[in-house]
Subunit: 306 residues, 2 copies
Amino acid sequence: MWHAKSSRADRPVCGFGASTLSFVAMQTESHNFTEQSIVIVGVGLIGGSIAAAVRQRFPECHVIGIGRNQDRLKLATERGLLTEWSDQISAATIPDGSLAIVCLPVGQIAGAVRQLVDADCKLVTDAGSVKACVYEALDDASRGRFIGSHPIAGSEHTGFENADADLFVNRMCVVTPVNAATSNTERIVGFWKSIGSTVQQMSPDAHDRVLALTSHLPHIVAAVMSGCVAAELLPFTGTGFRDTTRIAAGSANLWTSILLGNATHCVASIDAAESLLQKFREAITTGNAATLESLLEMSAQRRRTL
Amino acid sequence: MWHAKSSRADRPVCGFGASTLSFVAMQTESHNFTEQSIVIVGVGLIGGSIAAAVRQRFPECHVIGIGRNQDRLKLATERGLLTEWSDQISAATIPDGSLAIVCLPVGQIAGAVRQLVDADCKLVTDAGSVKACVYEALDDASRGRFIGSHPIAGSEHTGFENADADLFVNRMCVVTPVNAATSNTERIVGFWKSIGSTVQQMSPDAHDRVLALTSHLPHIVAAVMSGCVAAELLPFTGTGFRDTTRIAAGSANLWTSILLGNATHCVASIDAAESLLQKFREAITTGNAATLESLLEMSAQRRRTL
């Protein structure tokens, strides 16, 4: 199936359909943006935000959304996030030369990449939070056309209704090319820069090791903190508890696939946290004020640099 | 020494001196507020916010600030937070019938309460985060005139410059009377209600046990998380890390006295966190998706109720 909202000629050029998005023809820095069409597989918060970012900055670019739920895709199209949509990945739904971006949960990325490559898509990236396990799950043909990306941006909210055209502005995006053609890497890096990101290249394993500490451990720690406080004690929490646990409200299903997809590095990051927790425990148990204050001060100084 | 900003007659009634505070004669619910004068020992964020709350709602009440630094006290007076100030606790600086509120770090509260009682202050409360250790450090005479309070409100910021007249609105304040006269307990409860708080009475030990989980553990966990991420990895953190670690930026000195003042319950709360952390570790190590998702879902559901 193939559904265009309208022909290119009569497609509205001055407004998203509804919602909070307002169209501004903001061709700030083009970063040599040359994409004629972007295929987004999975139009949720991240996919929707990529769509919004492209539509706002590059109104001439086709933005094709692919997902399972036709009603949701129609709604995203009505709201101006997509120019076309389809409920399946096939050669007919992917214009020649498209850049495809898979915005699905970690466990579903490799399968979608394989389908895109089978449909003759030449270059595929993703937006997942774990990288090595995706490369491992690809066949050789797919691996040759895939360059992993991880835009470090998000929210505990889900769905394209929460899409934000500026979600990636001034945020880091890690790109993890493995034996990719330089021109393809440049194209992916250029894409993320064109929607506002800063880009850093890293190996998939280095990415996973770093993110286990900077993103996956915070989620575990927030979940542990939330899990430690019984419901009847919640009235005695303050803003500190609220902030510390905010991300624990995220999707348990999504985070299960992230943590299991990066199991080895996540366990190492838990070990690091436990080791430091034991230092706090020891200092409190022994009443060692100097050690406790220096542990707290080290953490405070680091946090204040952000 | 005794320094009045101005006589009652010519004291400005229509504005705080400067800063972000704007005066509104907001006599919302008086809750039978009958205080003629409030003495605040320690005019920092919490003391300053109490001052601001009283000045905004009850402009006829004297608000006397006591601290060590004359320049700071003068500045707080110029900004309209205080009507009078002094750099010492003495009978001459405490009007008859004053309610005194000690807003000092935990380790300094008992000493200040003793001085206030020596200066014949009839009723003293505080705003500290730990309660049992304060009662334990009081002599009998002081214990008879003290009722501990803990307004669960704050910020990682310090100083009266960050004072907020509405800091306590809709926030819980725990009051911990021990053998206190009913009329005195009612007066303290009424005071906190009059500046917007919800009040819950609890024994000092029950307070400390609850707050170890709801407030002190979040600080430890935030500090551990901040401490686990080396400075060179900070560019790879996102909003999740920022929120999870925000409170770790607080004063290491203040938090050392809080954690050591509540050592036994804090260690128990660390044990609870470690036990749950081990469940996450086990589920990730064994690839047990069902268990991991149910652990994450439990935490997510609890967090979503806030």
